[in-house]
């Protein structure tokens, strides 16, 4: 069995939350391609998996946010609600 050594195209593990759902998915695809290539070293693999798990959680959270059933509001009602809350606060 041959254990790969990190290839020259090693990708850098990034910190912080993704800017958007699509950037998170794009980064996840990049991570999975890197893992599937078998070129990532153990430390890189562990770091990428940790980052990937965070991205999966983020994406799942974004999908959950639009998965709880359609809510419908009227702009007039929304404005009235904001006005009443502002009045109560003032």
């Amino acid at each position: 069995m041959k254990i790969p050594s990190p290839g020259p195209e090693e990708i850098t593990v990034t910190d912080g939350s993704p800017a958007s759902y699509e950037s998170a998915v794009e980064r996840l695809e990049e991570i999975i391609d890197r893992l599937d290539s078998g070129q990532a070293g153990l430390r890189e693999t562990l770091d990428l998996c940790k980052e990937g798990k965070g991205l999966v959680d983020y994406c799942a959270g974004e999908l959950d946010a639009v998965g709880e059933g359609l809510k419908e509001l009227r702009l007039d009602d929304l404005a009235a609600k904001l006005d009443s809350s502002a009045g109560a606060g003032g």
């Binding site: 069995m1 254990i3 958007s20 759902y21 699509e22 998915v25 996840l28 695809e29 991570i31 999975i32 893992l35 599937d36 990532a40 153990l42 693999t45 562990l46 990428l48 998996c49 990937g52 798990k53 999966v56 994406c59 799942a60 974004e62 999908l63 946010a65 639009v66 998965g67 709880e68 059933g69 359609l70 809510k71 419908e72 509001l73 009227r74 702009l75 929304l78 404005a79």
Partner: protein
């Protein structure tokens, strides 16, 4: 338009720089004549403020940039052959006519208007010509690109919608969002979508929605119709408003063949409300959930595989020293067996050699011993006679010594003393008493003679002291 050049002859009084003063009535009549001499033209616009008198119909013809007051004789209107009530507020018409001026009178107010002699409802061609002119203008100003440069989220959580309340577009939009698996928040901003009041209200609704920070995209939609029906969505002010919004606008006005100006300035133009739903939520949420699960699985497999591969590799490495030791042990055992075999062969050979040597040595020793025996036998024979003589002499000498010893022993025998009349004092147990103190201490004793024993005891005599020669 050329400035009117009206001549009233030589002024009665010189003024600062201007001609006149003229009599206003004459001026008004001259003005009327001058206006009526202006070229006749066609105007297109939306009819507003229709009212009628006994002889004329009055209305304004306007668009986003301006308006002209119009008047039309009723008999001209009847000749136009419009359906009853066709000349009403909100319709787009084309009128033919020219400038006119009513000079008024002593009690009547003067008035300017565009005297329409012909009128017809605006046709597709008329509207298309206006639309193309506006389109060219807005494109030249770069307003078509502003919305298209905005970033559109693939998964908006809140979407604003401008449409007519109760319209079919609303139902179609909801159905499209449902097929996307999207369950976020919709904020409805209902507005009229047809007539001259529609465009300002649509623009206001768009601005109000865009002012909400949580709204990430706005859909403007209505069902199909003629270009005249959809004309509100070609309004220049509305389209300029859309172009300047910070939120991407998705237009779905009319059917696929309809093309309004808002389609050009919007970020995305869709043919139906259903398509607008897909454009507002580019992500198929159901497929995305499956994809996220797939990626989560791929990550787990990637991590597990990498760790398992390394664990196997590490295990193989860990077994390496043991295998090396086993290999060395096998070699060592082989060498040991070889050494043992070689040793046994050597021992056997040495044993055979030693046996040969021992045989030779033994043979020599045997021969030497035989020689010695033979010599000893000879020597024995020779010394045998001497030994016999010496033995006899020695026996004789020992017999004589023994006799002498027997005589001496007998001379010291106590029995010989008793035979000569002496007695021996003994304890009842037969132990000899060798002194007076021993006899006095024993109290009872016996005296043994050569011919028998007599019991005796001591008699205490305080005056004579212990011991003494007393007899019973």
């Amino acid at each position: 338009m050329d400035q009117p050049q009206i001549s009233f002859g030589t002024p009665a009084r010189p003024g600062p720089d201007l001609p006149g003063p003229f009599a206003v009535g004459r001026y008004a009549n001259k003005l009327q004549g001058w206006m009526r001499e202006r070229p006749r033209v066609l105007l297109i616009g939306e009819v507003t403020g229709v009212r009628r008198s006994k002889a004329q119909a009055y209305f304004e013809l306007r668009d986003g940039e301006g308006a002209v007051p119009c008047a039309m004789w009723l008999n001209d209107l009847e000749r136009a052959g419009l359906p009853d009530g066709a000349l009403r507020d909100g319709v787009e018409v084309v009128i033919a006519g020219g400038l006119d001026y009513y000079p008024g009178g002593g009690a009547a107010s003067p008035g300017f208007n565009f005297r329409a002699t012909h009128v017809r409802l605006a046709g597709e061609g008329d509207l298309m010509a206006r639309l193309e002119a506006l389109r060219t203008q807005l494109r030249a100003e770069g307003l078509f690109e502003l919305q298209k440069q905005l970033a559109r989220p693939v998964l908006p959580k809140t979407i604003g919608v401008v449409t007519a309340e109760g319209g079919a577009a609303r139902r179609d939009l909801l159905a499209g969002l449902g097929r996307r698996g999207w369950g976020g928040t919709l904020v409805w901003a209902f507005a009229p979508v047809q007539d001259r009041h529609a465009a300002p209200k649509i623009a206001r609704a768009l601005q109000d929605l865009a002012a909400r920070p949580e709204i990430e995209a706005i859909v403007v939609t209505r069902g199909g119709g003629s270009l005249a029906d959809l004309w509100a969505f070609c309004d220049e002010t509305l389209c300029r408003t859309v172009a300047m919004l910070r939120v991407p606008v998705i237009s779905a006005v009319g059917h696929e063949r309809d093309s309004t100006l808002i389609d050009d300035v919007a970020a995305i133009c869709c043919s139906t409300p259903t398509h607008a739903a897909e454009a507002a939520v580019p992500l198929d949420c159901g497929a995305a959930r499956a994809e996220v699960r797939r990626m989560a699985g791929a990550l787990r497999r990637g991590a597990d595989g990498a760790i398992a591969a390394r664990a196997r590799h590490l295990g193989a490495l860990a077994r390496g020293p043991a295998r090396a030791l086993q290999r060395q042990r096998t070699i060592l055992n082989q060498k040991t067996r070889e050494i043992r075999a070689a040793s046994e062969r050597g021992i056997a050979e040495r044993s055979a050699s030693q046996r040969r040597i021992a045989g030779l040595v033994l043979e020599r020793a045997r021969r030497r011993a035989l020689g010695q025996v033979e010599r000893a036998t000879e020597e024995g024979r020779r010394s045998g006679a001497t030994l016999d003589t010496a033995a006899e002499r020695a026996v004789s000498q020992r017999r004589e010594a023994l006799r002498n010893a027997a005589v001496a022993l007998r001379a010291h025998d106590p029995e010989r003393t008793l035979e000569r009349g002496y007695a021996l004092a003994e304890t009842p147990d037969g132990e000899p008493l060798t002194g007076a103190a021993a006899v006095a201490a024993a109290e009872r004793f016996s005296l043994r003679f050569a011919d028998g024993r007599v019991d005796a005891r001591t008699d205490e005599d305080p005056e004579s002291g212990t011991g003494g020669d007393h007899r019973d």
